[in-house]
């Protein structure tokens, strides 16, 4: 989530790489199976959920980072980043929902759900951390 390379961050990066690889396989695999075999009933529901599982794994990896990081300042930054992402996601989803309630925007979300917005929020949260707490925009770090 930032420049830190603690053991917890290394584990987090490894987990993210695994889950994102699984996500790509699950996404294209499920799309292909739906087009090739048109699954029905319970199988269709199970297959549709498969791409969601690696994304849930990413949520788990982020939460594990918050638990496993031993550097309290870095952990505080990661918590801020996650809370920022949660607020960002809830705010946009809520606004979008009310625009839909009054039929000002079309139904659906174009395939971009809460997870996508939360990940965008993590990115914006990292920038927010750098601007408000980080060294990048300050010339005060001593070596």
């Amino acid at each position: 989530m930032t420049q830190n390379t603690s053991p917890a961050v290394k584990r987090y990066l490894r987990r993210i790489a695994v889950f994102m690889t699984l996500y790509m396989v699950a996404l294209f695999g499920a799309k292909w199976l739906f087009q090739a075999f048109v699954p029905q009933g319970a199988l269709a529901y199970a297959l549709a959920i498969v791409p969601a599982l690696p994304l849930i794994g990413v949520f788990w990896a982020v939460m594990r980072l918050l638990v496993e990081e031993r550097d309290e300042y870095m952990r505080m930054l990661f918590v801020r980043q996650s809370l920022f992402a949660t607020g960002f996601c809830l705010t946009i989803m809520t606004i979008w929902q009310w625009l839909q309630n009054f039929e000002l925007v079309p139904p659906g979300n174009g395939g971009f759900g809460a997870a996508f917005l939360w990940f965008i929020g993590l990115g914006v949260g990292a920038i927010y951390n750098q601007v408000t707490m980080g060294d990048t925009f300050r010339k005060e770090a001593d070596q």
Binding site: S6, D71, Y73
Partner: protein, 63 residues
């Protein structure tokens, strides 16, 4: 809180990285504490106290 981390570090010719390694935290953590942007927990304050061989109140003080 105010602190004397920068002075104590300079007296020992330690970089922020050096102090971070002694404390088991990142350089960013040392920098944030030194600049008063982050107040350490009591366990970390005790670790800082042990590393410098000084009581906590000789390192940290109220604003």
């Amino acid at each position: 809180m105010k602190n004397r981390l920068k002075v104590l570090r300079a007296e020992r010719d330690w970089s922020q990285q050096d102090l971070g390694e002694r404390l088991g935290v990142s350089r960013q953590s040392v920098n944030a504490i030194e600049k008063g942007r982050y107040d350490p927990s009591l366990p970390l304050a005790f670790s800082i106290s042990e590393v410098f061989g000084l009581p906590i109140e000789e390192i940290f003080s109220r604003d």
